[in-house]
């Protein structure tokens, strides 16, 4: 983890790639190039990427793209995806309308 958080580490220049305009997070329409550029701009953790680009913050909450984003970030950093801490998990675990989320029933059924 220390290796990843070391921002002084030189990970090299961002080099444009032919598939940079490919959409990775479908819900929030974030491209591979945006994610790669963000890493080179100094955002080394999944949490930072999520907050900065909203990748994995849409309707499916990263169910589809979390692994893909992790793979892209890890590749740019030159580490194994397993070394990257995944994003935080917090309620609600599934998309839910605000009127339902706000309608709490403490008594159970």
């Amino acid at each position: 983890m220390c290796k990843i958080n070391d921002r002084s580490r030189n990970i090299g220049q961002y080099i444009p790639a032919p598939d940079d305009d490919m959409i990775i997070c479908r819900c929030e329409e974030v491209t591979k190039g945006e994610i790669r550029r963000a890493v080179h701009a100094g955002l080394y953790t999944i949490t930072e990427i999520r907050r900065y680009l909203r990748a994995g913050m849409g309707l499916c909450q990263g169910q589809t793209c979390a692994k893909l984003v992790k793979g892209i970030v890890a590749k740019e950093l030159g580490v194994s995806p397993a070394e990257l801490e995944p994003a935080g998990s917090r309620a609600p675990m599934r998309p839910i309308e605000m009127e339902v989320f706000g309608n709490e029933r403490a008594q159970g059924r």
Binding site: M93, F101, N103
Partner: protein, 525 residues
């Protein structure tokens, strides 16, 4: 806040199994599931399962699901459907979306059995409508009766890719190719063989370059990759398709456990983020247990056993059983689980290329690369025997934990022995009566009855057949080889359907004598 002794998240194979074990001890247990039907993936599994009797081998997945649901309701398990668990907090408080409200519950123990979700891969055009998960295709076909597409390319040669390809064929789809970037087929050879013999080509060391189309998939380009998974120029192939199915693995849906504060690890062998747990399913948080794919990707048979173990362990934790009793009860399940985790495809062998069987016989290279055993390779396996009169031919060539064929034969023609992963042996001297029970019992559809002297200059081959409509007796057509290519003229002699065969029909076709060991499928003219 309503309190339960035990709250289980997920009414799939592992969750329901856990619920049954706990409820049997008088524990008040509730199972929440976000779907409208219980059973998880079991009800999509229309194929016969592998294993031994105790693993419910040769029973179709959805029937196992029906039995499990019945068992759960008899034990008094409360299953709440359309109930999405959205949070798991300290002190085992659970929030569940039910209808238009969020309800709070508290459990003295929690078992999370939330399963897994499908992985995706990216390629040019991967977001086009028509690119779907193999699991989605299965849901459409087997739960909703909807044909996913007309012409389909499958990416992924693991068991999911192979099984779903076969189901797509059964559904009447044209599977144009089965593609995998890996150099070898990842799933069982018998699953690959039953797809290959219908004529589906396999492209190993290939992957998708581009899904073509403007607003939906209209075609796909694939190309060969080198050992670093880079495209090799000049190897592109094009297919006209309307659907691309992705079967590229599963990831545990473990977010609830992370949220609950369980210690997690990223373990590629288990499919991704999983809670650190012991073999009883205990996580690092006391009273929170896991079972099934959420703790590491395997399959439904092992998930059911893991569920039973977690249920018993939770019962002990709650004080409904002492440690001696739970130890005894868990033991049998652990042995059954160990039995399933044997053979070439055992978790410990994942990613390894195995060259020879336990018996020391070379694995068919064609089977691993093209999905079928070549004519000059088949003779070396112990299930193959030339004999006078009708006799079984077992084209089972990899060590997988499965043995129903041995018990299916009333005459002792087939022997597997003590070791469940051994290859079936055609027993010398045992007399086959041609009942066909072995053919129908083989979950891999790898057993055939062959009679080389069935009549004047012709041979008969009886094959498992799971396609509708069934050909009529007297129908003429082509006999296809293991590679799916037409090899001879063939005529249907007999079509057998029996309750004991459980929807596997037995098709007996007449072929030239020299094709007795080659013709393995039939298509009517």
């Amino acid at each position: 806040m309503k309190r339960y002794d035990l709250i289980i998240v997920g009414a799939g194979p592992s969750g329901l199994s856990a619920a049954v074990e706990a409820a049997k001890r008088g524990i008040q247990v509730v199972v929440f599931d976000e779907n409208e039907k219980p059973g998880g993936q079991l009800f999509k599994q229309i194929h016969k399962f592998f294993g031994s009797k105790e693993h419910k081998a040769k029973i179709r997945g959805f029937r196992i699901g029906e039995d499990l649901l019945k068992e759960a309701s008899e034990c008094g398990v409360e299953v709440v459907l359309n109930a999405t668990v959205i949070g798991l907090y300290l002190e085992k408080e659970v929030t569940v979306r039910i209808g238009d409200a969020v309800e709070h519950y508290k459990g003295d123990a929690i078992i999370v059995a939330s399963g897994a979700s499908e992985n995706m891969v990216t390629f040019d055009g991967w977001t086009l409508p028509g690119v779907i998960g193999a699991g989605a295709a299965q849901t459409m076909m087997n739960l909703h009766g909807v044909k996913p597409g007309r012409k389909i390319l499958m990416l992924g040669s693991g068991n999911v890719g192979l099984v779903v390809s076969f189901q797509l064929l059964q559904c009447g789809c044209d599977v144009v190719a089965l593609v995998d970037a890996a150099p070898h087929i990842g799933g069982y050879g018998v699953h690959a063989a039953k797809v290959a013999r219908t004529g589906v080509p396999f492209y190993l060391s290939h992957t998708i370059v581009k899904a073509e189309g403007e607003d939906r998939v209209t075609g796909v380009r694939i190309a060969e990759v080198d050992d670093k998974f880079q495209f090799i120029p000049g190897t592109e192939k094009h297919f006209e398709v309307d659907t691309i199915c992705l079967a590229v693995g599963l990831s545990p849906m473990s977010q609830l456990l992370k949220m609950a504060g369980c210690k997690m690890e990223d373990n590629p062998k288990k499919g991704g983020q999983v809670p650190i747990c012991d073999e009883m399913g205990r996580t690092s948080v006391e009273g929170v247990f896991v079972a099934g794919d959420v703790s590491g990707i395997e399959e439904a048979s092992s998930a059911m056993i893991e569920g039973r173990i977690a249920g018993i362990t939770a019962a002990e934790y709650l004080g409904y059983m002492d440690s001696i009793e739970s130890g005894q009860r868990v033991k049998g399940h652990e042995e059954a689980l160990e039995g399933l985790r044997q053979g070439m495809f055992a978790p410990k062998n994942r990613g390894k290329k195995i060259e020879t069987t336990d018996e020391g016989i070379q694995i068919s290279e064609n089977l691993l690369k093209r999905g079928y055993i070549a004519d000059d390779e088949i003779g070396r396996y112990p299930g193959i025997r030339q004999a006078a009169g009708v006799h079984p031919v077992m084209e089972c060539t990899q060590n997988i934990p499965c043995n129903p064929c041995q018990d299916a034969c009333p005459k002792g023609c087939i022997s597997i022995g003590e070791n469940i992963t051994s290859l079936p042996i055609a027993v010398e001297g045992a007399e086959c009566v041609g009942c066909g029970m072995c053919v129908a019992s083989c979950s891999g559809q790898a057993i055939f009855l062959v009679d080389e002297q069935a009549g004047d200059g012709y041979a008969s081959v009886t094959m498992p057949y799971e396609f509708l409509p069934l050909p009529e007796v007297g129908a003429r057509g082509k006999g296809l080889g293991r590679d799916g290519r037409p090899v001879c003229e063939a005529e249907v002699l007999k079509v057998q359907t029996a309750k004991a065969f459980d929807q596997t029909h037995l098709l007996t076709v007449k072929v030239p004598v020299y094709m007795a060991m080659k013709a393995r499928f039939f298509v009517a003219d």
